[in-house]
Symmetry: C2
Subunit: 266 residues, 2 copies
């Protein structure tokens, strides 16, 4: 079931002091760093774990409450650097994405374009700290979830790293690479992006001078209305027998596709 | 191609003095009348042919302009009586339906329910005045359009006239009669209904004490967006081989399905 030995890896979660994580994020922003540090949980964390800084931003966005007809459901804090990126996925929330410092770069495609993102099933995995290397640093390894679980996720990497990968991706995913370009936008400090529910988004980020990208996003429950009904129906009829099209409810993970080192469940 | 000898009949259009048409509408409101008089054109007529009375209503609805993000495209006047009804169809416009006097009764179904309305192709026809009867009254007959043209239209009559027809309709159109009921609403004088683009609507009306139902509707261009893309795609794949599902862009005609007396194009 997995594609080329790839898997869906949940992030390794570690509790640490706020000052410590900020130092780690600032110190590991280079491409050469093998650590990708991200202070982030999608569980209303700004009003939970990070409550102490919640007063620094607006608790509500009145015009959004009015336009969407409901109060927000979660406010999440995101502190990272250039190493974090989120592959294409979508969420069942209306999303207002506010940038505090640094920049976020979005690629956006409406739900109608799902067939161009080649959703496939990947085995779910998580990291375990297996040993400490000579320097005393934690070494992480991937382990399959038990019981085995498949996660539908988009295959397409919009920024292939080499000419060879570009050629390979274009021939594997022609509907994406030969079709209309996604909407592209950069959201800067003090700006808010309205990201409509169920829109596919791919996110990369640029840090500020201190090596940090900080954002807060406000999630509002979506109306499970026509857009949802049509989308679900099309998934259920599976018009293209070559692709296993499935719902991709977002689990905003960075580096979601990793070579699965613990086992190859093909 | 036609269903049971039925056809799609465009209304017979006749120019007459305003006072004359008002008398005709008031005098022909009974079920027994064989004339169905309706002062109505869907061509921005309130600002055209009926310009002289356009000042009696608001030229614009500011909140609608703001909400829909565009100025209106047409304002239509509708003056009729209980004899006029409009069978299920949809329009590619955002519609604000304001009642001046009398009442309109809407049945509403979202575009996702199109399969429950059993859209079929009917031969397009129009009325011709063939002769005058003994009383000097114009006699109308139906004539097929030349060249022949098929009009996709919804089969379902939500208010069958007899038990026999109810049984027949229920067995022919089970998805409609055995499925969830459509939204039902009555719009009264001084009220406005927002009828979203592409929603199927069936309309009947009750007159005021003078035997008149008068309404003005404001049409705004719709966004040919996700709702349209999904709808069109589903039409194109024709998932149900038993029904010829086709687009039903509205041509709000009253008494749209008539036994075709001029010929039977089966």
């Amino acid at each position: 079931m997995s594609e080329g030995g790839l898997c869906f890896a949940s992030a390794f979660v570690q509790s640490m002091d706020f000052s410590e994580v900020m130092q780690l994020i600032e110190a590991t922003g280079e491409e050469s760093s093998h650590v990708v540090a991200y202070a982030q949980q999608k569980d209303d964390c700004l009003r939970g774990e990070y409550e102490v800084v919640a007063g620094d931003v607006d608790a509500h966005i009145p015009w959004a409450t009015e336009a969407l007809g409901c109060l927000l459901e979660a406010v999440n804090l995101w502190i990272g650097n250039a190493r974090s990126h989120t592959s294409y996925h979508m969420d069942h929330y209306e999303n207002l994405y506010a940038i505090i410092t640094g920049e976020k770069h979005f690629l956006l495609l409406p739900p109608t374009e799902v067939h161009r993102l080649y959703v496939r099933n990947y085995p779910a995995t998580h990291y375990i700290s297996s040993s400490k290397d000579n320097g005393g640093e934690v070494k992480l390894e991937l382990e399959l979830e038990e019981p085995e679980k498949m996660v539908p996720w988009c295959c397409v990497d919009p920024f292939p790293a080499s000419d060879e990968i570009i050629a390979e991706q274009s021939s594997s995913f022609p509907l994406y690479f030969n079709g209309p370009k996604p909407f592209q936008c950069t959201v800067r400090a003090s700006e808010i992006l309205y990201l409509p529910s169920m829109w596919f988004h791919h996110v990369t980020q640029s840090p500020d001078d201190n090596g940090r990208t900080i954002a807060v996003n406000y999630w509002y429950d979506m109306q499970f209305y026509m857009k949802y009904a049509y989308y679900s129906f099309l998934q259920s009829v599976n018009l293209n027998p070559l692709s296993s099209v499935a719902s991709t409810q977002g689990e905003d993970k960075h580096d979601t596709k990793q070579n699965c080192s613990s086992s190859n469940p093909d």
